[in-house]
Amino acid sequence: MWIEATIAMRFLRQGRAQSLLILCGIAVGVAVIVFVTALISGLQQNLIERTLGTQAHVRVEAPREVNLLAPAQPGTLQLVLEDPRPQALRPIDNWLQVRDVIGRLPGVTAVSPVVSGPAFGRRGDATESVALVGIDLARYLRVIPLHENMVEGRLDVGSGNGVVGRKLAEDLGLRTGGKLRLDAGNGREAVINVAGIFELGVRELDARYVYLDLKQAQSLLALPGGVTVIDVTVEDVFAADRMAARINGLTGLKAESWMQTNAQLMNALASQSMSTRMISFFVAISVALGIASVLAVSVAQRTREIGILRAMGTRRRQMLQVFLVQGAVLGLAGSAIGALAGWGLAAAFNTFGPKLFTIDLPPILVPAAMALATLAGTGAALVPAWRASRLDPVEAIRHA
């Protein structure tokens, strides 16, 4: 293989202008593939992180209330006109056991019981509708990193304290240390100290959420000792679907994964991935065609030299290898430059870009792109190399 590689490298060096041009072409193509792939995966990562920063991977609730109908008697036809039942706030039966059962499932990393229901928040003449969320703080933080989202005060939900969203604080003119009156209807009222203000970055949550201690929320919502939701965190976020189905099967409770809740987001992510793959595929095709055409020209230009080499005893297989090596070297070198350029683009994006999110080059991306480009280069060289190996030496030497 030594002489084939040597001849290949000398041919590439001799046609320097051609080689450099096609190297640039390959580099641009690979840079585009690397950058676009990294950009889209960074964007998706960010979207998923943001989405999961404010919601659990799986949300387990009591099953919805439905009308139970007596079965129709045999031979009769039953026509039913039913009113859907109102969905009153219902606790999960035996939630302690449910929590422990789910917590022991392999793949589950955190389980957090939550009691949640509607109320009004009042300060002076202003009234806002709020969502009371009673949490077991230590457990809840393993599901939603609320402590990372505090903008004021401290995260404290114990002994008459609570934390509120930033928008709600603005609407009611609340500050850390202020008082907030909560009215859950039927005369159940409480006044809490605003210990801190958080901002989750989701307007709806920031305008409505009031986090309280589990017990206080239970008494306000008239669900003593009960919880309405069990939030679950899983190891593999994309396995949340399967986990939800499993929990449903095990407990009979309604379990919904973040993927079901965000079906549109999942659809958008899938379309993005598809378009990234399409871009990469077509860029790779055009790079391969570029390599093929450069080598085809090279074979035409070197017809006579190929003839001489054949006359001197160079075998067909060796001639084939000379041009395959050229394709592989072009692919490898071009993709190395391109990967570096792609990395540079990503770094520039992180430094000078909109800074909405950062692009991390997945470690596998560069070697994968280089391996792919080398393979594509070798593949693209197949036709010209085959032609070179099939040249009739007599004809080739006569070739002017």
């Binding site: 041919f11 001489i308 006359a311 005893g313 067909r316 007599v394 030497i397």
Partner: protein, 234 residues
């Protein structure tokens, strides 16, 4: 002087083109020829007489339509491309009318090329042999020059050194002096003659130049695809 041994034997060699088509034409009509190790033969004949075709057949670059070609006693007609290529690399050296060096390699590397395509990375011994051959053709100082930095005569001398590096038993030269001036042509011919005498390698030269043909030991005349005379002289 050792006893001459047979290098090449042609028996009833025929070559046709466009076989099976209306324009089928036979270029060589049954050539019988034998070349021995000490032979220094000129192949002469008018244009279109089939000299180049014969040379290509002898050089195993092309295969005959009928007849047999023995190289070093081995029949070659039934060989596949791989075997013919290997045999060609071992036994035959080529010198073409247009020097035909590989532009991407230096003079020394060009001389080494036939050895390298057969054996890979050159050993110090073969490099010494190649340098010696370059010295023999008077180009030891030009070993590291590229072909485009050499004159036509120098390039042709490099090509001769290249043809000899594998110590072939048969050297084929197609109008090796065709594009050289008279003096350089005589020098190149003298070189071929010297190698023929030194190494006992048989030489077959196609030439148009009757003066140069006259310096050979043997003149084979080809007319219309048939040998019309085969004279030994000198």
């Amino acid at each position: 002087m050792p006893e001459p041994r047979e290098v090449l034997r042609l028996e009833g060699l025929r070559k046709s083109y466009n076989i099976g088509k209306p324009n089928e034409v036979e270029v060589l009509h049954g050539i019988d020829l034998r070349l021995d190790s000490a032979d220094f033969a000129a192949l002469v004949g008018p244009s279109g007489s089939g000299k180049s075709t014969l040379l290509n057949l002898v050089g195993l670059l092309d295969s005959p339509t009928a007849g047999e070609l023995y190289l070093g006693g081995q029949p070659t007609r039934e060989m596949d491309d791989e075997a013919r290529t290997a045999l060609r690399g071992r036994h035959i050296g080529f010198v073409f009318q247009f020097h035909h060096l590989i532009g991407a390699f230096t003079a020394l590397e060009n001389v080494l090329m036939p050895w390298m395509v057969a054996n890979g990375k050159p050993t110090p011994e073969i490099v010494d042999i190649a340098r010696g051959l370059l010295a023999d053709v008077g180009l030891e100082k030009f070993a590291d020059r590229r072909p485009d930095q050499l004159s036509g005569g120098q390039q042709q001398r490099v090509a001769i050194a290249r043809a000899l590096v594998t110590r072939p038993s048969l050297l084929l030269a197609d109008e090796p002096t065709g594009n050289l001036d008279t003096r350089t042509a005589a020098d190149v011919f003298a070189l071929l003659r010297r190698f023929n005498e030194q190494s006992g390698c048989a030489v077959l030269v196609v030439t148009h130049d009757p003066r140069l043909a006259g310096t050979c030991d043997r003149t084979i005349s080809l007319v219309d695809g048939a040998i019309v005379s085969d004279k030994r002289h000198g």
